[in-house]
């Protein structure tokens, strides 16, 4: 009898403690739930009265704000295309071709990508981009992100492709397909879920990053939202809270939607390897 009571009380105690930790985690975000809908939002927590979308109207009327979101989209989509295409081709080759030392290549790339972090390598990345004359261009941001994210993306995808039986492509080739046809028509559709995961992961990474565009870009009309958001301050240096709150929410939406999409579609999974 006591042991059932024991279990029961543990369960209650854990529930209370979990709820408490959950509330503590939620506290810093509560303000962020209300402020975007409050036309008189300040740093203080207040229930909007009335709820209003006027802050969003302000954002949509601000050409510079929209420009920032557009730039984020350009840079993220550009990076994602390079990461997706590059990683798919490379990991397919690492999985299916007789290149010597494939495992060593994979691990060395992974090692490099975890050692060369953005904060350790900001000087040489700046100098290299400067050297090839791409400072203050969006393409520079795209290329730097693509290079940095590719090793992990290849690692994830290679795992995925290794788990697919070779007989798929082999039977296509017995039927007369060329290796390239076997790749595009047979392997690619099977790999697609893996590519989706990599693409979403890369998108979220680029979309949310601050440091790389902050270092590589100068002109305000090229800044992604992560950097552009810092210009929403009045001339006195105080933040325009209404604009910032609504903008933050708009800027967060793609990340939230993608997260919900991935956890609904794939559940949450862990991939081996070291995150960039």
């Amino acid at each position: 009898m006591t042991r059932y009571l024991n279990l029961y009380f543990t369960r209650i105690g854990f529930s209370v403690l979990t709820a408490l930790v959950g509330v503590l985690f939620a506290l810093p975000l509560v303000w962020f739930i209300f402020a975007p809908f409050n036309p008189r939002a300040e740093m203080g927590l207040a229930i909007p009265d009335p709820f209003s979308l006027s802050n969003f109207e302000t954002v949509f009327g601000n050409r510079f704000a929209l420009r920032g979101l557009w730039n984020s989209l350009v840079q993220s989509v550009g990076g994602v295309i390079l990461v997706g295409a590059g990683a798919t081709l490379a990991s397919y080759a690492l999985s299916r071709s007789p290149i010597p030392g494939k495992n060593v290549i994979t691990y060395i790339l992974l090692l490099f990508s975890s050692v060369v972090s953005g904060s350790a390598a900001m000087v040489p990345i700046f100098l290299i981009v400067n050297g090839i004359g791409l400072i203050d261009t969006q393409i520079a941001v795209i290329l730097v992100f693509a290079g940095g994210l590719l090793p992990t993306a290849m690692f994830i995808l290679r795992d995925f492709i290794d788990s697919i039986p070779k007989s798929y492509e082999e039977s296509a080739m017995v039927a007369g397909a060329s290796p390239v046809q076997a790749f595009f028509d047979v392997a690619l559709p099977v790999i697609r879920p893996g590519i989706v995961v990599v693409v979403v992961w890369a998108f979220v990474n680029i979309w949310g990053s601050f440091l790389i565009p902050f270092i590589l870009l100068r002109s305000s009309e090229k800044m992604p939202a992560a950097v552009a958001i810092y210009s929403f301050y009045s001339e006195a240096g105080t933040p325009i809270v209404t604009l910032l709150a609504a903008y933050s929410l708009l800027y967060s939406l793609p990340v939230i939607i993608l997260y919900l999409f991935v956890s609904w579609k794939f559940g949450f999974r862990f991939f081996g390897g070291i995150k960039a």
């Binding site: 959950g22 071709s97 904060s119 900001m122 290299i128 590719l150 090793p151 601050f210 933050s248």
Partner: protein, 303 residues
């Protein structure tokens, strides 16, 4: 039997080329370039921007200058601050809290589990500038949510970012990153066969005993993985910059922020590169350790 390969060697090489070029230019080249720059007096502007001189170990000597090593705003101070930051926010904060949450989530009602996970994960996935701004509002002296709560509890309000900047970034980084450890431990705990715990229940074990004698030993491998990864990430994290810019008076200037200031505010690229090299060496130690652990584990499974 000779294994039949689907892709010829040359086709394989062609497939590898695009990724190889990008990684070569923006990961491998920076690795070697930063070592080279750290031995020069390269600056952003002026004569040494175009024709930097080779200065040997001068940048490293200036970083490790015993006279100023521990002074605020110098390398040694920043290094020690970073170590404290990692120990407190990653190991004592994220890992311990993540472990506690993961363990409790095994036995709380489903709906509470879902809700708690959603909040903790939200702190992790939202863009860094957004959470930094939310924290600004949270910590605001006049109207912030935290001081509102302090007031309701009858406690004096605090000007947190000015009075306790280091503790702010420690708590902030714990809040930001706990989700990863929680999810990793959560999936590790769920992979333990329930019968183990049921047997312990029959024997009348408390939750702590089950954790100590069954849960923790069985997920030891995951704990090691988690500790190495979050240590590396926290060691390289730039996000606190968005909250404090390294200040006030260098009190939150962890190494990534220090590197940024030396290179892009003071324009001393050579010195900034030398810091980068040291950070990469430390990263390398952790990464090699990680690979060694995972490879050993893979072998253990095969044997």
């Amino acid at each position: 039997m000779r294994s039949f390969s689907l892709l010829s060697r040359s086709a394989g090489a062609a497939f590898l080329t695009p990724a190889g070029l990008l990684i070569g230019a923006f990961v491998i080249a920076p690795f070697f370039w930063v070592i080279y720059v750290s031995f020069t007096n390269r600056t952003l502007l002026g004569r040494t921007a175009m024709n930097p001189d080779f200065v040997g170990f001068a940048n490293y000597f200036s970083l490790f200058d015993a006279a100023s090593f521990f002074t605020r705003g110098e390398f040694g101070f920043s290094l020690i601050l970073t170590v404290q930051f990692v120990l407190l926010s990653a190991l004592a904060g994220q890992a311990a809290l993540g472990m506690l949450l993961a363990w409790m989530l095994q036995s709380v009602p489903k709906s509470l589990k879902r809700l708690t996970e959603a909040v903790v994960i939200a702190a992790w996935i939202l863009p860094e500038v957004v959470v930094a701004f939310a924290w600004f509002a949270f910590l605001d002296y006049e109207n912030g949510t935290l001081n509102m709560i302090m007031d309701a509890l009858g406690l004096p309000p605090g000007d947190w970012l000015l009075s306790f900047p280091f503790w702010v970034i420690v708590v902030f980084n714990t809040w930001r990153g706990t989700a990863f450890s929680m999810m990793l431990f959560n999936s590790a705990f769920s992979s333990i066969p329930p019968s183990y715990f049921q047997a312990a229940d029959v024997a009348g074990a408390t939750s702590w005993q089950k954790f100590r004698d069954i849960g923790l030993p069985l997920i030891r491998g995951h704990v090691v993985t988690d500790l190495i990864l979050i240590t590396m990430w926290t060691f390289n994290v730039f996000t606190p910059f968005l909250l404090t810019s390294g200040g006030p008076s260098y009190r939150t200037e962890i190494l990534p922020i220090y590197t940024y200031r030396v290179a892009f505010r003071d324009f001393e690229f050579g010195k900034g590169a030398a810091v980068g090299v040291i950070v990469m060496l430390i990263n390398l130690v952790f990464a090699l350790f990680y690979l060694w652990v995972t490879r050993r584990r893979a072998k253990g499974v095969a044997a």
